[in-house]
């Protein structure tokens, strides 16, 4: 409880200050803006409520992109990590490329993907998956490689097959690492989905934000941001919960 108290107080204080600054017009004056362009937290809350069905509809589109893209990256990332772990040759061939691939700004290639795959869910999935792939793969691989070599020797004298050694020692050792990677991935997945929608889409919170931006609907713009943040936090928390339930030995 005490852990939450201080950050909550700071958060409430910041929101309160924003509220005062926005309603008094001080914030708009400092920024040399019309006051309707600088919504207060209460206006954002009002917009959240009034546009709840519109936001929910678009949030669902974005959430689908995030979940499917993340799911693809999870399956591919774990499979890749296991393959690179089991084959030294594959590791030598691919590991430097995976690291180097991180220098490619995936978000920037979003428009190309839209050209190739159109306005549908395809390019968003691809971007989310590409962004999630790296942290999942690298963390899972690190986990697999962190296994105590003495434990492997022990398993050999206990008549374990390669598969048994993997399932009973390597996989459980790597599991917390894979969870760390997945938690990092899911937080950036939401950003990836929004960028994908900005590159070209007809629905989703990113699409809504572009529209609101054009129409100077700043309160609803902020409302979308709040929903996106909530989505990322919720997904992160779900993974953290799953980790606590599965990795009971830590």
């Amino acid at each position: 409880m005490k852990r939450w108290l201080l950050p909550t107080l700071v958060f409430v204080a910041l929101i309160g200050a924003w509220q005062v600054a926005a309603t008094s017009g001080a914030l708009a004056d400092t920024l040399h803006l019309e006051s309707f362009l600088v919504p207060s937290p209460s206006e954002i809350a009002k917009s959240l409520w009034e546009n709840r069905s519109l936001l929910a509809e678009n949030a669902w589109v974005t959430l689908k992109e995030v979940l499917l893209g993340f799911g693809c990256a999870l399956v591919a990332g774990i499979a890749f990590a296991v393959a690179l772990h089991l084959s030294a040759m594959l590791r030598r061939a691919f590991y430097p490329l995976i690291i180097a691939s991180q220098t490619i700004p995936i978000i920037v290639i979003a428009p190309i993907l839209v050209v190739w795959f159109g306005y549908g869910i395809g390019p968003k999935l691809a971007i989310v998956a590409l962004i999630c792939f790296f942290p999942i793969t690298v963390n899972a691989l690190d986990g697999l490689r962190s296994v105590d070599p003495d434990a492997i020797k022990l398993m050999r004298t206990l008549d374990a097959s390669r598969r048994q050694t993997f399932l009973r020692i390597e996989a459980p050792t790597a599991l917390p690492y894979a969870f760390s990677g997945a938690k990092i991935a899911v937080a950036v997945a939401v950003i990836g989905a929004v960028f994908g929608e900005w590159a070209g889409s007809d629905s989703g919170l990113g699409h809504l934000m572009l529209q609101d931006n054009a129409q100077l609907e700043t309160a609803r713009l902020f409302a979308s941001v709040v929903v996106l943040a909530a989505m990322a936090i919720a997904l992160f928390a779900l993974l953290a919960l799953a980790e606590r339930r599965i990795v009971t030995w830590r």
Partner: protein, 300 residues
């Protein structure tokens, strides 16, 4: 009452009991002839000869880093010699040795995601037994080794001595004729270690196996083994072989202060000093029998 203290007493009890040896396990001898081993340029073992008869416990003592652990891995078939022969139960190939040896590493290496009994039953599960059947077989030993009630405890909940017992059970349950023990009690405090030595003595009397025991503790080697081989500093070779005066005597504390035991220990110590690398000799202190033998070891 401490669990470990209770154990020492129970170990003595079952040591004197006439238990039948485990499931008709064939006895196997270990035979090492002209063994050489090196990691690249680094020569770890140089022309080493060593024999262990079936059901004999042979202790290996030597200075730190002399290649004792490498020797155990060679025996177990986890490594191949650079030259010479290592045979376990007549098998000279790594596969054959691996199938006849069970290895207990220095650290217990209990898997934190398995309960104590699932850790102990690991070899049975690897052999394809269903979890329930594997647990049932390990369960009998839990009872006998004073671990009853801790079957489903996680390794983190066990004391150091109990963890070591579970690790030893895991080695025993593998059902191999030869046990390779790498400093099994090095991580324990002095009192627990003494108790565990007596416990292991009882366990080996009840269920005899051929044992290759590596330790840096001369007293431990002399108490638990039938024969002790003193190894030189790297590259390791046998400097001296001693017969233990009272292998696995039921009362450890009395056995280790017996004059014959003390004399053997001093002999082993002086061989160790001879085998130590040049330059390390001066730091090992005065030669000869100390006035107060119990004081020197600092145990019990």
């Amino acid at each position: 009452m401490r669990q470990d203290t209770k154990m020492a007493v129970e170990a003595t009890k079952f040591a004197t009991r006439e238990d039948p040896p485990a499931e008709g396990l064939p006895a196997a001898a270990v035979s090492i002839r002209g063994l050489r081993h090196s990691y690249g340029e680094l020569r770890t073992i140089e022309r080493l000869d060593l024999e262990a008869a079936p059901h004999e416990v042979i202790g290996l003592v030597g200075p730190s880093g002399c290649g004792k652990s490498t020797l155990l891995e060679l025996v177990c078939g986890l490594q191949e010699p650079s030259a010479g022969e290592v045979e376990v139960g007549g098998a000279g190939d790594a596969r054959g040795r691996l199938s006849r040896c069970a290895y207990m590493p220095q650290r217990d290496l209990l898997l934190p995601w398995f309960s104590a009994i699932d850790n102990a039953a690991l070899a049975l599960r690897n052999r394809g037994l269903r979890r329930r059947e594997a647990r049932r077989q390990a369960d009998a030993l839990f009872e006998r080794f004073g671990l009853a009630g801790f079957e489903d405890a996680s390794p983190a909940e066990l004391s150091g001595g109990m963890r070591q017992r579970v690790a030893f059970l895991r080695t025993l349950v593998a059902g191999k004729p030869v046990l390779a023990l790498d400093e099994p009690f090095a991580s324990l405090d002095a009192i627990t270690r003494a108790e565990m030595q007596q416990w292991l003595a009882g366990a080996l009397e009840a269920d005899p196996r051929t044992v290759v025991l590596v330790t840096h503790d001369v007293e431990e080697a002399l108490y638990l083994s039938d024969r002790v081989a003193v190894l030189s500093a790297r590259p390791a070779r046998v400097v001296e072989e001693l017969s233990a005066p009272a292998p696995r005597a039921p009362d450890r504390d009395a056995a280790v202060i017996d004059p014959k035991f003390v004399a053997s220990r001093e002999k082993a110590m002086s061989s160790l000093r001879k085998g130590a690398p040049i330059g390390a000799r001066g730091s090992l202190g005065t030669e000869g029998v100390p006035k107060e033998p119990r004081g020197e070891t600092g145990r019990l």
